[in-house]
Subunit: 229 residues, 2 copies
DNA sequence: ATATAATGCTAACAATATATTAACATAATT
DNA sequence: AATTATGTTAATATATTGTTAGCATTATAT
């Protein structure tokens, strides 16, 4: 019944900031790690693969922007969302930070509430991203992520969260084969551990709900699944 | 607090400007969101559908004019009024901005009073405001925001401030799914910190008051809520 | 200005829906 | 025919939502 909490790496050379942030995030139930310079940040990011990094831009040694850039270059760490901490004056940094792939920024001084709101938001984003995505049509099937609705021949089909996500993942690239783990990654992010059978089970119930349309989800033996083009 | 707050997106790369504008608009009771570059502006505009956009023309990356153009091309965002911020010298920009569909402009440096006056004016004449204040009817339910009144089968229903805002938010786009945090954002602006359960509690009491109509508020498991279309 | 009431929030727990595993069956490939 | 991959089912684990109660805050009335 316990949820393994998200791991957050905070990078700041000021001890006050570090402890303030740590205190507030731990109170929220997050697991917190800290680093006081760019080198430490990169090492820990690679070693522990946190779920989120809060990164001050003013750092001794390697500065925050370079850290951000390096994180986004490394395939291991590039998908970890980064929230930047910046001083008021550094707007140009905000811009380049966002361009470098940072996900959000908070200007100092900040209130803990704002930071927590941003952290939550960062974790929420994957669902929201889908909600704003385009409607996909394949033959007589329409998939509308903003309504979370699938319509086949004018009949709405009720799908669960995962079923919908699988179908939408496949439908965005009809004809392309996805391995089981590509599918899982697309839905739960990397290193989400399930057995192959788990995906098969979802495919089964998905096919069931699609009725006569089930044959559009093709099994590619030895590889995975795809939606018929 | 009687009316639902209008949501304003401010786009500027200068932090001082952003915060100055944010401060003044929030003092006026508007809900504020911000973006520091063109990409962020477009993303947020599409995701949150603000009621008004204040757009600086000098932006890194995609410039303000292009942002404005793209906004006016997209049916989702084209009715959102845009107020441009321009430096004195850029008269030609003002012209092309207005041609591209911007609704008004303010030249920098500006006084907060002037900006607020323009914002008010924009809302007074905007289609969005009409839409915003429009009476929404879904089946036998009528929601009148100007009277803060909900009528179901000719019977008035009394709702609290938040209950009303949630219902109205959902009812403006029937069928569309809103995450809990999209709902909170629409009502309180970003960075308003509540737990998921807080929204659920509101939904519960809302459903209770809607009586037999409660089933029109649908739970979309794993995502959020929507009003039946 | 103070008391009273209404509202909104959190926290804890209950109820429900969904996802996953494990075990086995079936089908395809060699 | 043997082997391997996939399909299926049911039990179980996990995650999400519903609900209640109590507290804090804000609005309203006295």
């Amino acid at each position: 019944m316990f949820m393994p909490k998200e791991n957050i790496l905070i990078v700041d050379d000021e001890d006050d900031v570090l402890e303030l942030v740590r205190y507030n995030l731990e109170k929220e139930g997050y697991a917190v790690q800290t680093a006081v310079c760019g080198e430490e940040a990169l090492t820990k990011a690679r070693a522990k693969l946190p779920d989120l990094i809060i990164l001050d831009l003013m750092l001794p040694g390697i500065d925050g922007l370079s850290v951000c850039k390096k994180l986004k270059e490394d395939t291991k760490t590039q998908n970890i969302p980064v929230i930047m901490l910046t001083a008021k004056s550094e707007d140009s940094d905000i811009v380049s930070g966002l361009e470098l792939g940072a996900d959000d920024y908070v200007t100092k001084p900040f209130s803990p509430k704002v930071l927590i709101a941003r952290v939550r938001r960062a974790f929420q984003r994957s669902v929201v991203r889908d909600l704003n995505n385009a409607i996909v049509k394949v033959r007589e099937m329409t998939i509308d992520p903003s309504r979370r609705e699938v319509i086949i021949k004018n009949k709405p089909i009720e799908l669960t969260f995962t079923e919908f996500n699988i179908l939408y993942t496949l439908a965005k690239r009809p004809g392309q084969v996805f391995t089981r783990y590509q599918i899982v990654d697309a839905i739960h992010g990397e290193d989400y551990l399930v057995t192959d059978r788990a995906i098969d089970v979802q495919i089964v119930s998905l096919r069931k709900k699609l009725g006569s349309y089930e044959k559009n989800i093709e099994t590619v033996r030895g590889v995975g699944y795809r939606l018929k083009d």
